[in-house]
């Protein structure tokens, strides 16, 4: 097996006295699509946010694309490391979090323009290509508030891709969307997985998407990965009682 792209080892995270993650280990290879699911409060979102250090782990190490960072104090050196690691991870949030004071195109170009060192023309061409990929090239000059939730989330995906990340993190990307807008976001994600072989970690309740796209599914329960496996294994009806109960509830 080739070197994993993402390696999470012994990950613990507490908020005060509340221990949300109680030792999570996970290795993800390039091109894998890992769907993380579980009840709310099971730690799945915290897990995702620990990978790019939006939450600072209490214990454990995270390694993405060869950048390995252990839990520790926020020293200047470590902050720099975290910043480099974040450039390798694109993140898509439940609430989109587009920058409201910037046009769609500027949203996508902002980070590469400030950080990547690519020429202005390359940055713009890449941004326009990404907007075309998510089907929103015609909205480049528009401001986020003028877009529907589904369109905003597709812009957010383009924005995350603009830094040419090695892994994409999706934190419940369709949970804030009206039902009729969910499919347009999922189809962009599906195309990322199938046509571009993007490595993805997706926290979601969309089990249809998981069944179709996931290479692996991880069931989070009370701060640990209780069980994991391919979608076929997960949906064959012979899981642990906790997993089975959750799957029956959401499907």
């Amino acid at each position: 097996m080739t070197e994993p792209l993402v390696r999470v080892a012994g990950l613990h995270k507490s908020f005060g006295s509340l221990e949300v993650l109680k030792g999570v280990d996970l290795e993800i290879g390039a091109g894998e699509v890992v769907v993380v699911f579980g009840r709310s409060g099971s730690g799945k979102s915290t897990f995702l946010r620990c990978i790019n250090f939006l939450e600072d782990p209490t214990m454990g190490t995270i390694e993405v694309a060869g950048i390995k960072i252990a839990a520790g104090s926020p020293t200047r050196f470590r902050r720099k490391q975290i910043q480099s690691l974040r450039k390798t991870c694109g993140m898509v949030f439940q609430q989109f979090n587009l920058f409201p004071h910037m046009s769609v195109l500027d949203n996508v170009m902002e980070a590469p323009r400030r950080i990547s060192g690519d020429s202005a023309k390359d940055v713009k061409d890449h941004a326009m290509a990404l907007l075309a990929d998510v089907g929103l090239a015609d909205k480049a000059a528009e401001y986020p508030i003028r877009l529907s939730g589904g369109q905003q989330q597709r812009v957010a995906i383009a924005r995350a891709l603009a830094m040419k990340p090695q892994v994409m993190l999706f934190d419940e990307p369709t949970s804030a969307l009206d039902p009729e807008l969910i499919h347009e976001v999922l189809s962009v994600m599906r195309s990322l997985a199938k046509d571009h072989s993007t490595t993805m970690i997706v926290v979601t309740h969309e089990m249809g998407f998981a069944r179709e796209v996931a290479s692996r599914m991880c069931f989070f329960h009370e701060g640990v990965i209780l069980e994991q496996g391919t979608p076929e294994m997960m949906f064959d009806g012979s899981r642990l009682p906790e997993t089975q109960r959750f799957l029956n509830a959401v499907m």
Partner: protein, 292 residues
Amino acid sequence: MSNTPTVEAVPHQRHGLAESLEIASLKVPFRIKVALVWLVIGGLLLIGFLKSGFDIAWMGDHAAAIVKAVWVTIAFSIIAIACAVGLALLGALGRVSRNPIAYGVSGFYTSFFRGTPLIVQLFLWYLALPQLALGLLPEQYATWFIWPAQVAGIVGIAFNYGAYMTEIFRSGIEAVPHGQAEAAAALGMSSGQQMRRIILPQATRIVIPPTGNEFIAMMKDTALIGLLGTTLMWADPFRMAQLSGKADFRNLEALIAAALVYWGLTAVFSIFQRKLEERMGRGYVRQSKAKT
């Protein structure tokens, strides 16, 4: 159903005088009534002034000098607000910083300058600072801190208002949703880039209306600078009124003229500010469009 006859009966009843007046009054729009109240207050004041021997001719002769002094108020206010915005920006960045020096300095700054009277601060800059400098520094450097009243006054007002505006700017920064900084951080932007490119532009929009209020208050407080001492050239409307009013024992006329100057100035700026707020209140859509 049972009270239908009563309802029909009412128009046929004879009204008392009070009732007729009430009905007539209800037909006059609220705004017109309020305008009438203002007119009555103004009329009463005018009658009172005239009865007291208010010297309109004197006012005609001297008001021009008082009104002309408004440029001093405008100049002081603009310089002071520019300095105060700079101080408030630094102060607010300190208040949201996790650097203990920045946080501590800005905390001391807002605490002291919001916790002591403005007039005391003005005299501290004007009279106490030179003494401190002379006591600590060789004379050629100490003289740098001996300022004309106007400079001490503007610095004093800028520091005082900067302290209040620090809290306005801090709350503006904190009003930007946390997800904005997170999204920028997740893209690999440094905390400085997050602040400059993402947080501050959005906070600016939030703090413009309250900053306008501070500016209006500041315009009036520039009248305190005259208390430190002044020259004829730098005399503001209040100081001009005092000078000319005392000389001819026409204090009422002079001070009313000065008050009207400040009132007019703040009224004009309030209109300007209301327009600005309307513009920003139109929602983010138009506001964003207007920027491009």
